[in-house]
Amino acid sequence: MLGSALGLSLSVKAAMKPVTMICPNGHLGFAPLKVDSFHAGVAAKPDYIAADSGSDDVGPVPLATDTSASPKNWQKHDLEEMLLAARKLGVPMIIGSAGDTGSNSRVDIFVDMIREIAERHGLAPFKLGYFYSEVDKETVRAKILGGDQIEGLDGRDPLNEAELDETDQIVAMAGVHPFLRLLEGGAEVIIGGRSSDSAIFASAAIHNGYPEDKAFMLGKLLECASFCAEPYGGKETVMGTISPDGIDVTAMHPDQRCTVASVAGHAMYERSNPFHEYVAGGLLDMTNCNYNQLDEKTTRVTGPKFVHAKQMRVKLEGAGKIGERFVGIAGIRDPHTISHVDQVIEWARAEVRRRFGEDGYELYYSVYGRDGIMGAMEPLRDTPAHELCIVVQGVAPSVEVAEELTLTATRQLFYARLPDVKGTAGGVSFPFDEVMRSSPACRWTINHTMAVTDGLELFPTHIVDIGV
């Protein structure tokens, strides 16, 4: 029994061909890919061209307001490069987390872009697959009311209805499942809703018969493109090769190399723990990984393990709008005023309270030159610079109130009554005598996980013919 199982696995191993894929951008659209190393990658004739287009780094505003942080022209630039190369080579192109957030509208925009690019270039017909990741608030509410706890991540409490009500939009983080469904359905171009970065690449490897251990490790290494190479330089293409021998990553830029240090360093990038990467259905355990320099530009990784979760849970991301926001800016040069800046701010706050009351709005002062970047964590906050910049943010339910609130909070810095001040003609400098409307104030309301029956439950897939 054991012998025959082993024999089978050996014959499968012998039959497994290496699969190669290139990734030109770690966050498609946020900044354009660099074309030279991408073209070098395409010249190597990879089996897949894939990239992630999402990130929660852009803050809660895009998800809460259903917008993108990335300009359309940059998104289209990269989609066009990738689509033309993929169709020319006749290999699948896979995109995950369309348009920063992976919401349904972002998927639709990317699908339209693919359609438009194909038409403009007169590309031969191909199958386009896409899936959605949005989750209706009432679906989540039903789970809460049904006693199916929405568990908090990173120390958050379980999700309650009040916090759900504060949420404007929710997306679920897909694993490999919808990508696999679309690949099995013959999709040649895939536009994914919100998905784990590594799942985009892992799905292609699994589709070719590779085990999850190696497949997710490949995904983890490729997801941020050249961030796994050195010297530092983003938006350059890297190539990954998965074979029975391991996972190899190779830098495509002539001056970049994937070294043991750069690859191992990347394995821990952006995660709180360098050994574990959680995805829908399990976790990638990198504790026993080995890293070996294969040639000047290539490092091989062996030894990853995929551990299946007892219960299939998917991560939910949710964001909600708090209110309209305006921003004001003021500067201080007088050393006496600098040493009493908290009193100056308190004067302005008191004037705001007199006009707008104690609550119903939010007001924030960031004091650059003292602790504007680190706030309470700044060790040097008692030794401010010779000049300070104060950035004021005012948040209120309406545009009108937010503007007047922020104008009061900024302009009253000028009138602060500071004992013993020499300069009695105005306490701060203004680069302009106005406040500026900014993006609305928003907040990440949901960073939780929800139980599902399978990895496709929240991710409806569709396949359409393009160019027919």
Binding site: P60, D154, G155, A261, G265, A267, Y291, A376, C442
Partner: protein, 106 residues
């Protein structure tokens, strides 16, 4: 004799790890430098908590990562990234005070 961490480490960086945490990586060129700092007691949960003026329970992970010659730790944010008043949406400039840590080197 002491040397500043900035003189020993190849990379000192901070970045979001999800929306509720900032993660810090201190990476060394050689195993010797890595071991020197690991064994020195200059970069620990305790010293980081003191430097940043936070309680130790806000430090969720503190790991020595041998394959990359790296020391890595993560701090729970005061508020989620990008909330109004958060001055560092990417968490990318929170590492600077680490550079000044004095590491006993003899």
């Amino acid at each position: 004799m002491t040397r500043k961490l900035v003189e020993i480490a190849k990379t000192i960086r901070s970045k979001n790890a999800g929306v509720d945490k900032i993660t810090f990586d201190v990476i060394f060129r050689t195993e010797n430098e890595y071991k020197l700092v690991c064994d020195s007691g200059a970069l620990t949960r305790e010293t980081v908590a003191k430097l940043y003026g936070i309680s130790q329970n806000r430090i969720t992970d503190f790991v020595a990562f041998d394959p990359a010659y790296a020391i890595k730790f993560s701090i729970l944010r005061e508020r989620p990234s990008g909330s109004p008043g958060d001055p560092d949406i990417f968490g990318a400039q929170q590492y600077a005070p680490l550079m000044e840590i004095e590491v006993p080197s003899s």
